[in-house]
């Protein structure tokens, strides 16, 4: 692959998707050169508005039945990116295709159709369910709105969904407060799967859950993927969780992808200094090993996305930084093992 000085030069699926075969037409998700900017606040006492480049030139693809992990720190743009997939935010440039249908610029009817093929699971199940709606009604609502089923057929579909996520169909008449956090996330998953989407965007789906329940939900997501062939865009800051459920991983820093590789390659041979620092920061749940580790430490916080430095955005925190990094932005280039890395020195 040539270094992607021209964004358009790397649009072939095999370039952005090193471990899955090139089948552009069959992709569940194809994001090209996506940029989402927000105008800064313009208040009475606020300084002149600065543009926040939340997502700034991202290319990603997901094949059917695949799980792509998207990791990075708070403020790196990973939630904005997942919102763009759903058409919730309006990009300033680029394209998002879900199962071949263009999200950017789609009208109301177009978005409604697209949202039958892509569903969303949020972090906090308590905030994702209407407390005054029975869970059966909540799970059945997408089916009713889409006009797919009603009456006895709808009730049977809801019962099947409840069984699929490990809940009892006779609980359909109960309300969210009668369930624990883990059960509520199962309800949210059942609702997300109601229209049999090809892609589910999971935005920190287990971060609000306790450890033992987290394992149950992760196992459920993996099982549902095996049974139904659904693809996941799995957004998380927890690398140990990402390691467990994904096929490929994209590491995001200040609105850009800095490393994209198959899961095994990324965890066995992380290349970008930011990826290495992220991995080093995850404590090993074994005191002997954890205390014997030599770790790469990052200093300082993420720079403001309203004031991204020229050159490499990571330069201000990078232990490998050189003069070139402060002036010249590295592009994603493909390495011998298939990993794509945006670093002059990694």
């Amino acid at each position: 692959m040539t270094p992607a000085s021209e964004p358009k030069a790397e649009l072939a699926a095999d370039a952005v998707n090193p471990t899955t075969p090139a089948q552009p037409a069959a992709l569940v998700l194809a994001i090209r050169d996506l940029a989402v900017h927000f105008a800064g606040r313009r208040g009475l006492f606020a300084p002149p508005a600065a543009v926040v480049r939340a997502v700034d030139g991202v290319d990603l693809t997901i094949a059917p039945g695949e799980t792509l992990g998207l990791v990075g720190e708070s403020g790196c743009g990973k939630s904005t990116l997942s919102n763009a997939v759903l058409g919730i935010v309006r990009p300033v440039r680029g394209s998002v295709q879900v199962a071949g249908a263009e999200v950017v610029g789609a009208d109301r009817a177009g978005l409604a159709a697209i949202r039958r093929t892509v569903a969303l699971i949020f972090q906090d199940p308590a905030l994702s369910l209407n407390p005054r709606m029975s869970i059966g009604a909540a799970i059945g609502e997408p089916l009713a709105v889409a006009g797919v089923a009603r009456g006895a057929v709808l009730r049977e579909r809801v019962a099947a969904l409840l069984r699929a996520v490990g809940l009892r169909p006779e609980h359909a008449g109960r309300f969210p407060h009668e369930f624990s956090g883990g059960q509520r996330q199962r309800i949210v998953i059942a609702r997300a799967l109601a229209l049999e989407p090809q892609l589910v965007v999971c935005d920190e789906p287990v971060s609000a859950l306790d450890v033992s329940v987290r394992a149950q939900i992760l196992n459920l997501l993996v099982d549902l993927q095996r049974e139904r062939g659904v693809a996941y865009l799995f957004v998380s800051h927890d690398l140990a969780v990402v390691r467990h459920v994904t096929d490929r991983v994209a590491v995001m820093y200040l609105g850009r992808i800095v490393e994209l590789a198959s899961r095994d390659t990324l965890f066995a041979a992380p290349k970008h200094p930011y990826t290495r620092a992220l991995l080093d920061a995850v404590p090993d749940p074994d005191p002997a090993r954890q205390r014997g580790r030599t770790r790469m430490r990052l200093t300082g916080d993420l720079p403001s996305p309203a004031d991204i430095p020229p050159g490499c955005a990571f330069a201000s925190r990078c232990p490998l930084v050189a003069d070139r990094c402060r002036t010249e932005r590295p592009d994603l280039t493909t390495r011998p093992d298939g990993a794509q890395v945006a670093c002059h020195f990694a």
Binding site: L239, R243, D284, D301
Partner: protein, 334 residues
């Protein structure tokens, strides 16, 4: 106030049979543990196990609905549970201090960082404002805040989450407490910032001998920083051990299964994680026996009939389980 006996080997903090009740249900039931000077003790457990209530009880910051219905909280020999609130105000913040999970919610949004630090110091010590301000600046520098003189005159909203957490730690440490109670201090932070905050706590323990009572659900954080671990389940202590011993050979089935269910970086690809089936019982479901019995694969008839006492072995490893010898076998169960 009774005089404090000078006992060299007495623990800094000894919680004895602490019982907390909400509407008659004992949500924390006869919890006992100790923290030595300069020691990091972690209380781990899931939501609702009573770990945060225990921490708040030590600080005497319980909500009115929670009743301290039994037990003692001995801090340097003095029972905080029996202390009048006025006396507690003199102790809280000076001898023991607390940091919370959500730094932005714990700082006063309308007060500059420096003013908050100066206020905390001047409540407990007779120092001039100028001197307090200089100590505040030094404290911000000590917790790793760059350009501390400028930060004194900034408001919390001008700082990042990691910086706010450092300010809160500075606020807790400025009077030089012997015990720092830290309730999920890194849960709201990114892993990179978490590593820095844990380094900061570690250096404080090593440098000043500050003891830390760390409340967390993260077994990785525990492995990183704790000397000893108290595992709580449904309001009771399940196990207490040195961190290394706990991870190497847990003696309570809950600990063993909790460790097995933690996703690890080096784990098998897309493999199934071990799970603990079922849920934590609600206080209404508490029976006479072990509260873990309904989820425990080792449970026998005795477990549901009779609560196992916390038994400390000769090696200092304590577990509350009738079958503690077999618990470690659950470690690899997947």
């Amino acid at each position: 106030m009774q005089p404090v006996p000078a006992m060299a080997d007495a623990p800094l903090l000894a919680v004895q049979d602490l019982t907390l009740a909400i509407r008659g249900a004992s949500v924390v039931d006869r919890v006992s543990f100790a923290v030595a000077r300069g020691e990091v003790v972690a209380i781990v457990g899931e939501s609702g196990c009573g770990k945060s209530l225990t921490a708040l009880a030590v600080m005497r910051l319980l909500a009115p609905a929670v009743r301290l219905s039994g037990g003692r909280i001995l801090f340097e020999g003095r029972d905080l549970a029996a202390l009048p609130e006025a006396a507690m105000c003199g102790v809280r913040g000076r001898d023991l201090a607390m940091i919370f999970q959500e730094p932005t919610a714990s700082l006063d949004p309308l007060m500059m960082v420096g003013s908050q630090l100066v206020e905390a110091l001047r409540i407990h010590q007779a120092v001039s404002t100028a001197e307090a301000r200089e100590r505040a600046r030094a404290m911000l520098a000590a917790v790793g805040i760059p350009d501390p003189a400028r930060r004194l005159d900034q408001y919390p909203f001008e700082l990042s989450g990691g910086m706010c957490q450092r300010v809160m730690i500075a606020l807790a440490l400025i009077c030089g407490p012997r015990l720092l109670v830290a309730d999920e201090p890194t849960t709201a932070l990114d892993v990179t910032i978490q590593a820095e905050i844990l380094d900061l706590l570690r250096s404080r323990v090593a440098g000043q001998g500050t003891a830390v009572l760390l409340i967390t659900h993260d077994m990785g954080v525990v492995a990183d920083i704790a000397d000893r671990v108290v595992v709580m389940y449904a309001g009771r202590v399940a196990e207490i051990a040195d961190a290394a011993a706990l991870y190497a050979a847990p003696r309570h089935p809950y600990t063993a299964m909790l460790l097995a269910s933690v996703p690890r970086l080096e784990a098998a690809p897309k493999g199934r994680l071990a799970t603990i089936e079922g849920q934590v019982p609600t206080p209404a479901e508490f029976g006479p026996g072990c509260r873990y019995a309904s989820r425990c694969p080792l449970a026998i008839a005795r477990c549901t009939a009779e609560a196992p006492p916390l038994v400390t072995d000769a090696d200092g490893h304590a577990a509350a389980c009738w079958r503690s010898g077999e618990a470690a076998t659950l470690r690899g169960a997947a």
